[in-house]
Amino acid sequence: MNDIRNLVNQLNDVDPTKTFRSRQQLQAIVDQLDWSDAELRSRIAGSLAAELTATVAGQSDDPDRQLPYRMYLRHLAKKKGQDGSDIATRPKHSVKARIVLCELLGQIASDDQASALKVALEDLRVRDAARRALERIGTPVAVRYLIQALSHHDPEFRLGVIRSLAKQRWGNSMMALRKQTNNSDASIRLAAAEALAEYPETANDAYIAAASSDTVRGQARIGASRVRLAGTLVSFGNLPGAADVLKSVVSDPGNGPWKAAAERELTRINTFK
């Protein structure tokens, strides 16, 4: 595992050729890993996770400090020293290196390493990469961390979390998305509506329709999401459910291109029947 530690250290190098080579070598290790050897996979993923969360003391020489000072101070983790005093710490590796580690973990990590990615969700500069890694892992544990991230204060990050949850098929992620259709932020409501359209569940139509929007564009996104929900239901073989959703879209007041799309899709479904 020393090889992995050395390669990760090289990711911090100022020479782009060195960082590229170490990135390629790490990628090759992860790509060629035999998943049937669970112990080796766990060891490699564990090493990567340890490097992701590794910290060193001090803050003055942080090469990644490009944030406003107050945000930077909040970003720094605090821990007690041996004498009980607070010691400011900073991540051992650069932002670029930590993003690479998240990408590699997304490819091979299991639930055991997902907790390291959960810690990285609090890392201002790396959290989106950690979110993408958890999306790829997609186990119930990873999804639970993503659901917890829905309470994050940054709306742009929350949008990413909602779109990650759209790729999952677990019941608890659907429930969390349904709650987001009542959010006070219209962009969050609309993203949640679009995410719910990916779940083959007829009852989601009511939640999508409830994610109201005052803007024409918002209404179009809701209309399109309802038609897409019908498409998802068709792809899962639920033709009656899809027909119900489309009939509901067609009978709604108002006019828009999504109604024409719903009518066309309804005709197609009736042909299949």
């Binding site: 990628q27 790509d31 997304g106 993408r132 742009e156 949008l159 990413g160 779109r163 790729k167």
Partner: protein
Amino acid sequence: MIGVDGSGPTKMEGTGQFHENGPHGVLRQFEVKFIYGNHEGGELLCTSQTEEFGVHFNLYGDDGRISVSRRRISASDPDIVRTESKNYDDRLLESYVRHYENWLDCIHTRERSICDVEIGHRSVTVFHLANLAVRLGRPLSWNPDRETFVDDPAADRLLSRPMRSPWRI
């Protein structure tokens, strides 16, 4: 490939070399073999540069090899590529003559274009599969109907690349 526009290969394996010093992670040389299980066991061998001419496909069949690139077509036996156009699939001739015009026509008529979105998606999928086969360094089995790998969770994780927030499709 003709006859499998809405499907894809079922098995693939390949080798290749990446650029050693960057700046990108694109294959420099490669050789990937695809097997189309639902198309009478047809094989497609895709290779990078040879001395003959640049990046191209090699299609191997019972009667020999056809090499196709953007601008050239050749064959191990020249008679293979001297087929009369009347024997071709009509869409091939039409696409050769008027791709852009056909696309504009279809916007008006709402018909499917010669190369519609499904064909585009299935064509690009083949190259993504080639890339993954080389990267993972082992034979892969693909289910073209479900568009997932067969009993291969490691490869399934690479099926899509999560997008940076707030981007979406």
